[in-house]
């Protein structure tokens, strides 16, 4: 027979069992536990009555509140769109110049554009839109495909060298790799190109720069222009300003001329609505700083 003993500390009886020195008290379950069990069960029963919960073969109990999370989400989204309608309708309809003149609309553009830019553009162009190696700085006056809101919105829509059928296409040939220019010729072109944006570069021998200028006119000017100020029709960058996508040092320019460049930007037409793209274009224009 089990021998039940009284625990001197708590005053409760043991169950009379012992395992390897471990004994158990036969303490009754405190009332409060039954109360909480009952309360939790009651909460559940009420919830079951009100909300969809129990399966019934091919259907389920719908609950008295007739709650449906899909309908709820659809409805909430509609409500939210309705609340935004006063300004969304205006941005969708009005032209860029008119929107830019309206400080209230531009406030919306700054608020909304910031998050849109962070979620969609910042991965390449950086949180502050300062760009990085291979990704243009969007806060400058220098634009590959044009810096008007219209041009920017179009770039966002079709992308650059993207999968979009109307994509902007641009490719700089690999002058060295494909044998169009010899190594010493590339040196000369590089010297000339560097002298364009940095006239104070004293270490460049005048003869090299002059030779480079001739080569530039023959090989590069078709895209970059006689004056090397670029051509936004073909996405050719301006080489006379201090902004560089891949880098303006001799080494990087040489790499560029040798191997060519072909940047990529995805198309956003199927990912962002026309409204969002319009907001982004306006937002990006607003980031621009005057030339240093």
């Amino acid at each position: 027979m089990a021998k039940e003993e009284r625990d001197p500390h708590t005053g409760y009886l043991t169950t009379g069992h012992e395992w390897n020195g471990i004994i158990e008290l036969n303490t009754p379950v405190p009332r409060i536990i039954y109360f909480f069990l009952g309360a939790a069960f009651l909460f559940s029963v009420v919830y079951w009555i009100l909300m969809p919960t129990w399966p019934l073969g091919t259907t389920y109990t719908k609950g008295l509140l007739d709650s449906d999370q899909r309908a709820y989400v659809d409805n909430t989204i509609k409500q939210a769109a309705l609340q935004r309608a006063d300004w969304t309708a205006r941005i969708e309809k009005e032209n860029y110049a008119d929107i830019q003149k309206d400080p209230r609309l531009m406030e919306v553009v700054r608020e909304t554009g910031r998050a849109l830019f962070g979620d969609n553009c910042a991965a390449c162009h950086g949180r502050e839109a300062q760009g990085g190696k291979g990704f243009p700085n969007l806060t400058t006056q220098s634009w590959l495909w044009g810096g008007t809101p219209d041009a920017i919105a179009e770039t966002i829509r079709v992308g650059i060298n993207s999968a979009h059928p109307e994509t902007r296409t641009s490719q700089m040939p690999a002058f060295g790799h494909d044998g169009m220019l010899k190594s010493n010729e590339i040196d000369n072109v590089v010297a000339f190109v560097r002298s364009l944006s940095n006239p104070s570069t004293k270490d460049l021998p005048a003869a090299k720069v002059a030779a480079g200028k001739t080569l530039f006119a023959a090989n590069c000017a078709a895209c970059h222009g006689e004056d090397a100020k670029g051509n936004s029709e073909v996405g050719a960058p301006n080489l006379t300003d201090p902004f560089w996508i891949y880098g303006g040092d001799a080494q990087t320019i040489e790499t560029t001329v040798w191997g060519g460049r072909q940047g990529h930007m995805p198309t956003w037409e199927s990912r962002l609505s026309a409204l969002d793209r319009k907001i982004l274009a306006l937002y990006i224009v607003g980031l621009r700083k005057p030339n240093p």
Partner: protein, 550 residues
Amino acid sequence: MIAELTTNERQTALVILLALAVTGLAMAIAGQGDPFGVHGALVMVVAIAGVFTVISGYYAPEPSDSRLDSYYDTPTKFGIVVAMIWAVIAMFVGDWVAWLLAYPNLTFDAAWSSFGRLRPVHTSGVIFGFGGNALIATSFYVMQRTSRARLPDQLSPWFVLLGYNLFCIVAATGYLMGVTQSKEYAEPEWYADIWLVIVWVAYFVLYLRTLARRKEPHIYVANWYYLAFILVVAMLHIVNNLAVPISWGSAKSYSLFSGVQDAMTEWWYGHNAVAFFLTSGFLGMLYYYMPKRAGRPIYSYRMSIISFWGITFFYMWAGSHHLHYTALPQWVQSLGMTFSVMLLIPSWVSAGNALMTLNGAWNKVRDDAVLRFMMVAAVFYGLTTFEGSFMAIRPVNSLSHYTDWTVGHVHAGALGWVAMITFGAIYASVPWLWKRETMYSPRLVEVHFWLALAGTVIYVFAMWNSGIIQGLMWRTYNESGTLAYSFVDSLVAMHPYYIARAVGGVFFLLGTAIGLYNIWMTIRTAPRAASELAADRPVLAGAPALQAGE
């Protein structure tokens, strides 16, 4: 180790190892050019090493019958040391990935070092490597003592432990090669899963055989929990891993389920893995080591019954709360939510029963870091189960879901509850197992306790802050009615907390490493006199069984 096996067992071991070697060879041939083949070669090498080990000890004299006069503890000793080694490795990887989240460039551009591959090494390493080994090792110890019966043979415990660790190694090396089913906490592929089923069934059978030999009239609570752990984990593992390999020579398989059914199966598994692996098993541990160490009776047998059946019943329904606001039908979500709420009561009854057991022994809690580990574990168990039920409520979940709050919750449970109770149990059993007076350095146990507690608190607070900030940022709208923050903004806000979390992890890891050192040094010090240990043995088959209560 081989000397402890009978000749018969040595032969059986050879047969098993040879069969394993042949399987490994077949895998290596069939899976050439695939990670499957690499794992085949690994299995073959391990099995052949095992064959040589058995052969080298094959002609050692058989163990005498006097062995039956004592509990068989060598597998437990092995399991405890291996668990601690897994703990150090897996927590190191955990802290590594914590730094990786704060500084993503630390992958050094290698595939194996990417977050996606290292993270399961951490999770499987701590859950299965550390937790699993500790559970198996302590279950062998506890079931023998609470049944007053020696393990039925010497080979099965080794098969279970070594086979289990082979599974862990195949899993972890597979992750680094990119082998994964992409199911959280069930990442290992089909062949590793099949092997684990074999090992697990052997474990279950071993447990039942020992219980069947028991000399106590009643089955102690700890055994209920250990058995629930073994039985339910087998069921979960088999169902969730039903899959079809794309060929017999490939590691890749496709799940039997698809879409939302697959997600629901996965979280039915995932949540019950938390329940029956990380809760039931460790409650078994608590139910033995805490009263033993405190020298106090379990506060209430009746509360044990309520909490055991409450936990076992309610947990099964709760998994769908991992899929709130997803494609899962709403009724499944709300049903899971109500069961998650009810689950709180038996969980708190367990935690309360544990803490009330310490009544009359609080002075020991103050003085003894080992018991304090167990006390803090019970407190964190209570906190985490409350938090879990709270987060399962749909509106709360809409804030917490996908944020670091979840990560903080998991670690409150994993560090505060699972690891703390395990450290307590291990520190309690190491001197008992190796017949020492105390641990090599009780002071280092104290140091470990405070490092572990500080690490846990830093970690959990960092993730609470980070998670709630993140959740709020994701749902904040500006006056125009559009989202106020981009996702990157929330990453910037989380960065300092990520660093804090990684620092908390360093504390915890450091404590674990000190623990391993302390255990190692305890093993190396001299044993105490044999006479003191005379009572620690099973009742022999010939002797009359003890009456209940004696």
